[in-house]
């Protein structure tokens, strides 16, 4: 395919390429840099991502709501199919490019201060740059094979960063878990890609999923999945969609593959903010956005139900967790559930809109959590305490110690709850309204989806309030347990404050819409759905936001009342629901009992088989050979050698006998001669 691009377009492409490759350059430079704690590595990575960010902004303004820019080169040929690789810039990829680099920039700045004390400072930035490269490349890849390779690289760099503190046993467990869970999804994606190739003979995303693309022309009838080129039994379409959904579920931590994300919080908090809250976990939603036309209505319904269930389940778990980062992790899973649900109900634009707004406020929340944990660690180190710096049961009253952090946390939390004037309101209420619209003409079972989503919103409000109150309000609980501790903590320098301010601005409505109450007017929303504009036809559009938010406000007040006014034991800490939530719905136990254990048992059986049967057989062989050779050796020694030795012995005894005559005594010789002659004569005589 030969495409002639205008000068402006090729310049844009060049910028996009630069934005993708700069972090790779930083990665290579950091690899070659001497010194484990070389501070220059932090600035190289940050500089690279800053330039990337600037280039992405230029690319974004050149591409947004303009024509798609697509350039490809022939990559390789298999049989008669030529595989092309290239860059695809449309609204979706330009948006993601911008989002990833804009989120990565504050995280890099923050990390230069956050990881300052770490012994492996350079390695951290090397891998962080590597992740940024993989993620940026993932969003601009125009081809499923290329997409798949960067998908793997993203998973791999996430693995490296989760296990960054590889001396901690828990971190090793967590990164293994994350990697294995992601592998399950990767296998699904690979299967789906191969089926798509078998059906359409191309990997190209534009040809497959573009306007009037091959997937759009396919129809399903008479149990066959008919593409423009050929048809396959319809079961393959189900498998392909299932595979893609598996990949999405693994990467975006959806039920049933969500359990790796809370454990992934063992990595540095800045990594959690960038990878496990804002960007990488969004890759699954991004993949859905890319291959959206592949899904049929029925499959989208299933997706909506699973997304809704995940959102609800994760929110209930977040209610009772005590680990600060774990709460945020479950909140992330819950919000990702919203995005998947939105994809399922056809709210394509709202889903991606929520992805963008969520990235900002969740990243901000994680960075705040990082500061809090860092300061708790300081208290722990200064006073030689044996506490868990991440546990919110030790915190409280930090509002006065960390006023700046507190304000930032409030902004992010309001956005997460989705109160008006924040970005979260615009995106989340869009999803809720469209969920009600979607369920309108469906049976009552499907009504549960929007209801569950609304319920989740209220749960979200509650756990966020619980988190904020326990961390920032009341008195420091540590002070009660340990009377004589010194507390010298502060908000930190500009490297902490600047990223937080940048992200906090992005949590507010003006960046997305001039009207803080009506999501349809957000430019981002309109950019992603240029044709299907929803009319404000029915009552949902005013009723739902109002009802949801008024009740949210009540819940916020309720939570505040419960936790600040110290009626702490208003909730039973023992009931079934509490245990279910506290133990994270027993997913880990379930998996370890029903999947890990059988696999381990199978492997021990196989290992036994290997050790005893295969190795036994192999060990038997030498024994048999040894036995045979012993027999042969015996035969050789006693029979073959025996004959030779007998001969030798005979010859020897003869010669010894003959030697006896040669004793040097002349008379003896004479006597012998005489005897022989006598004998001869006697013989001749007797004959």
């Amino acid at each position: 395919m030969k495409t002639f691009l205008s000068y402006e377009d090729s310049l844009t492409l060049f910028y996009a390429l630069g934005a993708v490759l700069l972090p790779l350059l930083a990665f290579v430079v950091n690899c070659c840099m001497p010194g484990r704690r070389n501070k220059a590595s932090g600035w190289i990575s940050t500089g690279a991502i800053l330039l990337s960010c600037v280039l992405s902004i230029i690319v974004f303004f050149n591409t947004w709501n303009k024509h798609t820019i697509h350039l490809q080169q022939q990559w390789f040929t298999i049989g008669y199919s030529k595989i092309y690789a290239g860059i695809l810039l449309n609204n979706l990829s330009a948006l993601m490019l911008l989002l990833v680099s804009v989120i990565a920039l504050p995280v890099h700045i923050y990390s230069t201060a956050y990881m300052k004390e770490d012994g492996r400072y350079k390695r951290y930035f090397t891998w962080l740059s590597f992740f940024c490269f993989s993620m940026l490349a993932l969003v601009v890849a125009d081809n499923l094979v290329l997409f798949y390779s960067f998908w793997e690289l993203v998973g791999f760099s996430s693995y490296l960063l989760i296990g960054f503190w590889f001396t901690k046993e828990k971190a090793i467990q967590a990164n293994k878990k994350a990697f294995i869970m992601n592998r399950i999804g990767d296998v699904g994606l690979l299967i789906a890609i191969l089926i798509i190739f078998a059906q359409y003979r191309t990997f190209d995303i534009v040809q497959l999923f573009g306007d009037g693309g091959l997937v759009g022309q396919s129809i399903t009838k008479f149990g066959f999945w008919m593409g423009p080129i050929r048809g396959l039994p319809v079961v393959w379409q189900y498998i392909a969609c299932g595979g893609i959904f598996l990949a999405v579920a693994a990467k975006s931590a959806q039920f049933p593959l969500h359990t790796w994300l809370p454990d992934a919080m063992e990595g540095p908090t800045s990594v959690s903010a960038l990878i496990h809250a804002a960007t990488m976990v969004a890759a699954g939603v991004f993949l859905l956005g890319r291959v959206y036309p592949l899904f049929t209505t029925g499959e989208l319904d299933v997706m909506a139900v699973i997304g809704c269930f995940t959102a609800f389940m994760a929110a209930t778990i977040a209610l009772t967790q005590n680990d600060l980062k774990r709460i945020l992790a479950y909140s992330t899973i819950s919000q990702l559930g919203y995005m998947i649900m939105a994809m399922g109900i056809g709210a394509y634009a709202s889903s991606l809109f929520h992805l963008v707004t969520h990235a900002f406020f969740k990243c901000l929340l994680f960075l705040v959590a990082g500061i809090v944990i860092h300061q708790m660690q300081h208290i722990k180190d200064d006073n030689n305490l044996d506490i868990d710096p991440q546990s919110i049961t030790n915190m409280g009253g930090l509002r006065k110690k960390l006023p700046f952090t507190f304000i930032m946390a409030i902004i992010a939390s309001l956005a997460l709850i989705g109160l008006p004037l924040t970005s979260g309101y615009l995106s989340k209420d869009g999803i809720l309204i469209q969920a009600f619209d979607w369920s309108d003409d469906k049976s009552w079972v499907f009504k549960l989806v929007p209801l569950g989503a609304v319920l989740t919103t209220w749960l979200t409000a509650f756990y966020v309030v619980r988190l904020i109150v326990k961390v920032f309000f009341g008195d420091l609980k540590l002070k009660k347990a340990h009377q004589h501790i010194d507390i010298h903590i502060n908000d930190g320098g500009w490297q902490y404050k600047l990223p937080l301010i940048l992200l906090a601005i992005a949590c507010l409505f003006p960046l997305f819409s001039l009207n803080p109450l009506i999501y349809e007017q957000a430019w981002l929303f309109n950019g992603l759905t240029p044709t299907a504009h929803l009319e404000r036809v029915n009552i949902y559009h005013t009723l739902i936001p109002a009802a949801v938010n008024i009740l949210s406000l009540f819940i916020i007040y309720f939570g505040y009342a419960v936790y600040v006014k110290r009626k702490t034991h208003i909730f039973p800490q023992s009931g079934f629901l509490y245990k279910l939530s506290y133990n994270q719905w027993y997913f880990d136990e379930f998996y370890s009992r029903f999947i890990v254990k059988p696999v381990m048992m199978l492997s021990s059986v196989l290992s036994w088989f290997d050790n005893n049967i295969i190795d036994g057989f192999v060990n038997l062989l030498p024994k048999v050979v040894l036995l045979i050779s012993k027999v042969a050796a015996w035969f050789d020694y006693y029979i073959i050698d025996g004959i030779i030795r007998l001969l030798v012995h005979i010859v020897e005894s003869i010669s010894n006998f003959v030697r006896g005559f040669q004793n040097g005594k002349i008379q003896y010789y004479l006597f012998s001669m005489l005897a022989i002659i006598l004998a001869l004569f006697i013989y001749l005589d007797l004959r």
């Binding site: 030697r659 040669q662 004793n663 040097g664 005594k665 002349i666 008379q667 004479l670 006597f671 005489l674």
Partner: protein
């Protein structure tokens, strides 16, 4: 009347004595004497059988030659014995066994 048989009997006796001396004595001189005895037994035979050659007296002549030759060999043998004695300080042939393997 002395018959041929009597001569032969004496000759055999002489021969056997010489032979016995050769294999049993520990003195080279005695062995040499044994050899002389055997030689003389042979000469006696020559002389005894000489009666069948009355014309030329071949037996007697041949005996004379044999005696001369025997004297010569005895001289040589004595010289050897002398040399052996010089080297080994003994004339027992059993002691002189450097030739054994």
């Amino acid at each position: 009347m002395i018959t041929l048989t009597d001569f032969l009997v004496v000759s055999v006796a002489l021969f056997c004595i010489g032979l016995y001396m050769i294999v049993s004595k520990h003195n080279a001189i005695q062995i040499l004497i044994g050899i002389e005895l055997m030689l003389n037994a042979a000469i006696l035979n020559l002389v005894a059988f000489g009666k069948y050659d009355k014309l030329n007296n071949g037996g007697q002549v041949f005996a004379l030659f044999a005696i001369v030759l025997a004297a010569a060999t005895t001289a040589v043998a004595l010289a050897i014995i002398l040399n052996v004695y010089r080297r080994y300080k003994t004339i027992d042939p059993g002691e002189v066994n450097r030739l054994k393997d």
